[in-house]
Structure formats: structure tokens, C-alpha cells
Symmetry: C2
Subunit: 330 residues, 2 copies
């Protein structure tokens, strides 16, 4: 099921931006003077947890569905997702008047399952550690004649996520600033490649790093080696949103061209970043959404005297896990 | 220590708005489609928890300090506060190059004490249930020749808080909406009177209700009786930010003129609202900051088919209390 456009570009991101204006939340870019003082630099948090459906994924989902034909929309869309793309797709489909069927891991956080169903989507579950969502997905989609919208290997999805990068550049410009460094969470790389394309024209001097949790550092290793690497599949992570097996076909070449490399954080560092988001920004950040903030807070890269941006990409976390994090049990 | 201006007005709020532009965060006005569906109306949350220092109080503090004379600023400012005004004052004083001394209850949440000290203010503590902060405050201020900035009975503080109301009206106008109902947390009434003044011109049809926790419903009873009533002093509340003894001298006449009455919520309803802010908005709301949202969620007023605004006024809550709320222990 090939995309019509051959590759995402700054232009496809700009087109998405026009399409999404007034539809997405222009999420705030916040800083904390108290935290800046500790860090010795200026850290801005792009709060995509406040996006509709609680993550940036709504951007790409809405953009992708709105570029489908009338016929495709009537037949319905299909997605597989660890949860945030599911919610983004379900809600985007709902407001665009389109039926959505979503394949989700059976161990998805309850909040993500419930919300996806709440937006009216049909949810099918699978075992993420033993079954291939790609295979199951393609079977369901072809049997029911649904249009598969991949979570990151889709030009319009990547372009939609990139609108987050346009906003970041604009919001910094309003403060007469440009970012020296930027990092965002990286699963399949949709958000990171979209942002990289946006900044390639709007803020070309910004050095971009993907952020990943340990044991799921496929993109970091891929960027270092120059070829796509995979994760072993033997590990578990609290960062459910970004435990994808390997960088995307479409995303990886973009990341390879436009980013400087990867930053890898431990679960303890992720938990600390979630507490910092709570304390300094009053934002609920989910584990996978906190890895970029974690990378800066744990000093994975020198940010002294610099202006840096961390994207907090989502906030869909169950209350019991969040309470454990606040109680320093993780 | 009388204010120069005789009373706050729409004009003093507008002047404050010009003074604060580019200094305060234009906090987002968020809605949740999933929550709206449950409520049968359109609920917008004005997220003042994302304001600098974690609450709206920075608005009034900055406005008040910036209208002082050079001499007054050099001598320093003084405030008594249950915590959020303290942080707002400490940070506003810091960026305006002014020394701040703050009197705080000894049972103030740690996060508020630490942050106030973190911004460089000198902190003095007292027992909020047995000592009069007014008396202690006036003594310290006169001995050290400091300018007392009251937390709500100050024209410039009220006017600064009112800028939140201007933003709400503008943000709704951008969506071609006006609010049918608005509610915000009410302690001494600074925020509520400021917002009421702003909306009196910008959105005169909006019906405004103060929100209070049970046992601290002095303003609700005062509005019903037409004269200022007090709380008994025998009670405790998790809503530390708004457990003031009685409505203000300056705030009450404004509230009496411009609001429809009060909505009173239980601690269980407050905790439920904090969980809703977490789940639907990804915002950390402190107990006192959640009473207006609690009033709408618990059906204290009919919002079916209506556009309503709840102000989430602050997010400075300790991790252990927040974890208990998430675990439904409160």
C-alpha cells in the first residue's frame, strides 16, 4: 500500500501545517526559571501531552486521513499502534466522519485502550512480543478493504508530526531565540523525522538528537552504524509508546541526513524526568514521552549556556504507574 | 498602607494586561472531546497551573511590584501567603531586581516553601490556625520599611489576576465562542474579582460563580447574605491555597456586583477533579486549584449544552499527596 508522495519534505510539512491550523492545539513551549538555574542553560519543554488525544499523534493522523480520497474515507481506515497513534487515529477519524479499526498490543495502558474505544473506534488486540502487528494488520486491512495508516512509515503522518517542529521554531522566534539543541522521543521516528524536516529550513543550525530508552536504542545504533539496526525483543520497558523494533523505511533516511545521533536513557532517568515535568512544568508526561527531557536532565549532552528544546510527546499514563513514579518506586 | 488607586476596574485590568504582555505565559485554554461527551457541554480549562511559578499569582505580583516607586522597590517588598502568592512575589521580585520577604504558614506544602526560597526570597513561617498573619505581617513590614503586597486586597494584585480573564475572553473569541458560565477557585477573591472585572466588559453575558471547598465557603455565604461572612477556623482542608478566613475588603464589593453566587465542593469532589485534570487534560492541578473544575464535574450547576470555563488556578502540590489522590486514597 504505497504512499502517493515519494518522500516527506519541508514542503509536505508546510502543507500539513496549513491543513492542521485551527484543528490542532498550538501546544505551549514552557520553561522553568528554577530548573534553568539548576541546569545552567535554558530548557524549553514542548508540551505535546496537551495535544488533542494526549499526544502529538493526532497531528499525523488527522493529516493522513484528510489527504485520503472520498472513497477511502467511506471504506474506513485501519491502524496498528501501541496506543497514542491509536487514539490520534480514532479521534481524527471521528471528526472527519470516517470509520476506524485499530490493532493494539494487549498490554497497552488501560487509559489508551479506553480512550481509543471512547472515540468510537473498533479495537482488536494482539501480543506485541510474539505476534507481528505488520502481518496481522495487512491481513485485516486487505480483508475489509480498509486503508492502512502506518504509525510512522507514512509520508502524510510524518508531515503532520513535523508541524510540531514548525510551531517550535515559531515560538522560539517570538522570543528572539533559536535552539542550539533539540531532542524528542523516538520510536519509529515519525515525530523526529517530521521535526527534523521542519527545522532543516526554519532553524538549520539546531543540532537534533533522537532520544530512546535503553534496550530500545535501535535508532541510536542505526544512526551510528549508518544502517537500520533492530532491538532484540528480549526486553520490556515502561516506555510503551516507543518500543518499536527498528527505525522506519521512510523515517530512517531523513534521520540519517538531518540528526546528529542518539541519546539513550535508563528507566530511572525516565522516572526522574516525569517527576521534573510534574514539579517544574505541571505537565503529566508519560514514560515514553519523557525520554528527551530525561536525556537533558541526566546530562547526556552538555547544555550549559545553551538554548535547548525537549519535546514531551505524550501524557497517556495510567494513574497507578504515575503514582509509583511520584513515590520514587521507579 | 493604602493603595493609590481607589478601586480596581476594567481599566486597571487592561493596564495590567499591557504591563504583563510578554512577561506572563498566555496559558492554554484546553478542552477534552472525551470529557465534553460525558458532560453534555463544552468545558474549557484555563490552565494557570502552567503559569510561571505554577499559579496565576505571578500575574498580580508582577503587576503590583512594577507599579511601585523606585524607592519602594529598593527597600523591598513583603508578603504573607499560603504559598502561591509567595512564589509569585518571590519570582516577580527577583526579575524586577527587588528584595522579597515572605511570611508563610508552617504547614505550607514543601514544594511551595522550597520554590519560594529557591527564587531568593527570605521566608518567615507562622501557625496559620493560631496566629494572625495580618498582625505579624504588618509588624515585620513596618519595622523593616518594606512595602506590604497583600495577596488579594490590593488593587494592582487584583488587576494583574484579571489579565487571566482577558485572555479567556480572547481565546474563546478566537474560536467564535463566548462562555455561558465561568467558575474559578476563590480564597480571598483576587482572581475571581479580577476575572469578573475583565469579563464585565468583554463578555458581559457570562454568568460567574466563585468555587470554594466545604467548610471554607465564606464567600459563597457572603454572596448569599450580602455581607462578609467568616469561616469558623475549626476545620482543615487539602485546599491549602484557598483556606482564607473571609472575603477581602476590596474584592467582596466586586464579587457582590459581578458574580451570581458560589459553588461549594467536597474534598472527594476535589480529588476527583484532580484525577480528571490528570486524565483528560494532562495537567497537574493542586487541590485548591481544582475546586472550579470539581464544581462542574460534580454537577453543582447545570452545564448541559453550554460553553463553560473552569480556571485551574495552580499546580503546586506535593508528590505524596498527588500520588494518594491518583490512588483514590482521597
Amino acid at each position: 500500500m504505497p504512499d502517493i508522495s515519494p518522500a516527506p519534505s519541508f514542503n509536505t510539512v508546510q502543507e500539513a501545517y496549513s491543513r492542521l491550523e485551527g484543528v490542532v492545539v498550538r501546544t505551549p513551549l514552557l520553561e522553568s526559571p528554577a530548573l534553568n538555574e539548576k541546569l545552567g542553560g535554558r530548557l524549553f519543554l514542548k508540551c505535546e501531552a496537551l495535544q488533542k488525544t494526549g499526544s502529538f499523534k493526532f497531528r499525523g493522523a488527522y493529516n493522513a486521513i484528510s489527504t485520503l480520497s472520498e472513497m477511502q474515507r467511506r471504506q474506513g481506515v485501519f491502524a496498528f499502534s501501541s496506543g497514542n497513534h491509536a487514539q490520534g487515529m480514532a479521534y481524527a477519524a471521528k471528526i472527519l466522519g470516517c470509520k476506524a479499526t485499530i490493532l493494539m498490543p494487549e498490554d497497552t495502558p488501560r487509559i489508551k485502550l479506553e480512550n481509543t474505544r471512547g472515540y468510537g473506534a473498533t479495537v482488536v488486540t494482539y501480543d506485541r512480543y510474539t505476534e507481528s502487528r505488520e502481518e496481522i494488520g495487512e491481513t485485516i486491512a486487505s480483508e475489509q478493504n480498509l486503508t492502512l495508516i502506518r504509525p510512522y512509515d507514512n509520508v502524510q503522518v510524518i508531515s503532520g508530526q513535523g508541524t510540531c517542529g514548525i510551531e517550535i521554531a515559531q515560538q522560539l522566534e517570538e522570543k528572539n531565540l533559536t535552539a542550539d539543541l533539540l531532542s524528542a522521543p523516538c520510536g519509529g521516528g515519525g515525530l523526529m523525522s517530521g521535526i527534523s524536516l521542519a527545522l532543516s529550513k526554519l532553524s538549520p543550525k539546531t543540532e537534533i538528537y533522537v532520544a530512546e530508552p535503553e534496550n530500545f536504542d535501535d535508532t541510536t545504533r542505526s544512526l551510528a552504524s549508518g544502517t537500520r539496526q533492530s532491538n532484540s525483543g528480549d526486553h520490556r520497558s515502561i516506555c510503551d509508546a516507543i518500543v518499536t523494533p527498528t527505525p522506519g523505511n521512510i523515517t530512517f533516511p531523513v534521520l540519517h541526513d538531518l540528526t546528529k545521533g542518539g541519546l539513550v536513557v535508563s528507566e530511572a532517568e525516565v522516572a526522574q524526568a516525569m517527576r521534573a515535568a510534574f514539579q517544574y512544568f505541571k505537565i503529566v508526561a508519560e514514560p515514553g514521552g519523557s525520554v528527551a527531557l530525561a536525556a537533558f536532565l541526566s546530562g547526556k549532552i552538555d547544555m550549559k549556556g545553551k538554548t535547548v528544546v525537549a519535546v514531551a510527546s505524550g501524557g497517556n499514563v495510567d494513574t497507578d504507574l504515575y503514582a509509583k513514579v511520584l513515590n520514587c518506586e521507579i
